[in-house]
């Protein structure tokens, strides 16, 4: 399955790109995808699938846009 990943702020710096395309096996959860990309991270992230905040154990689908948001700093 093809998913597009978006990275912001500290995670963008860590990953080195603002967006990327990845191919993942059927049944991959958001949490598993995050762990694969950022293996030893301790930042509490919000798991976002197609611009909607989701539970970490939600599974991704082909064509999804996924983002992991580090703690917000707007205002």
């Amino acid at each position: 399955m093809r998913v597009t990943l978006l990275w912001f702020a500290a995670l963008r710096e860590r990953r080195g790109v603002a967006s990327e395309v990845m191919y993942v096996p059927e049944g991959t959860t958001l949490a598993a995808l995050y762990a694969r990309c950022i293996p030893d991270d301790r930042i509490p992230v919000a798991h976002v699938r197609n611009q909607r905040v989701c539970a970490p154990d939600e599974r991704v689908a082909d064509g999804d846009e996924v983002a992991f948001l580090p703690p917000l700093g707007g205002g």
């Binding site: 978006l6 912001f8 702020a9 500290a10 963008r12 976002v48 611009q51 983002a67 948001l69 580090p70 703690p71 917000l72 700093g73 707007g74 205002g75």
Partner: protein, 141 residues
């Protein structure tokens, strides 16, 4: 006027966006870049946002305000990029028929924005920089 922009915010224009002869109260809130944080001197702030989701979130907050305070008008503008000390990074204008609702709605909007808007802030110091998150709850510092 609901927007995430990458240039200086025209505060007067945000204020004008809520003009309404039926509203007797108007509040303009400016969140302004401060020159210190946790005892460190801050030279400027640099904001990064997720434009698509940020604009959707700003519209959702505006809808909530209009639903919760009948007759309210609201304009919300957040800025990205580098913001010098003393300049606003966010401006929220609210107009309501009476003052009590205006204070409530203005406070609601800034707290909702700080909790939910996909925007990140980097503090620039003389000797480096750091990403700074909003406190989830608790007293203001």
């Amino acid at each position: 006027m609901i927007a995430l922009i990458d240039r200086a915010i025209d505060v007067a224009a945000v204020r004008r966006a809520v003009d309404d002869p039926g509203c007797g109260a108007v509040l303009v809130f400016e969140g302004v870049a401060r020159d210190h944080c946790d005892g460190r001197r801050v030279l400027s702030l640099s904001y990064e946002g997720w434009p698509a989701m940020a604009e959707a979130t700003l519209h959702a907050i505006a809808d909530e305000v209009r639903g919760q305070w009948p007759g309210a008008r609201i304009a919300l503008v957040h800025r990205t990029g580098e913001v010098a000390v003393g300049e606003p990074s966010v401006v929220i204008a609210v107009a309501t028929p009476h003052r009590a609702a205006c204070y409530e709605a203005s406070r609601y909007a800034i707290e909702a924005l700080k909790a939910r808007l996909p925007v990140w802030k980097q503090e620039i110091y003389e000797d480096g920089s750091a990403w700074k998150a909003n406190a989830p709850t608790g007293p203001e510092r």
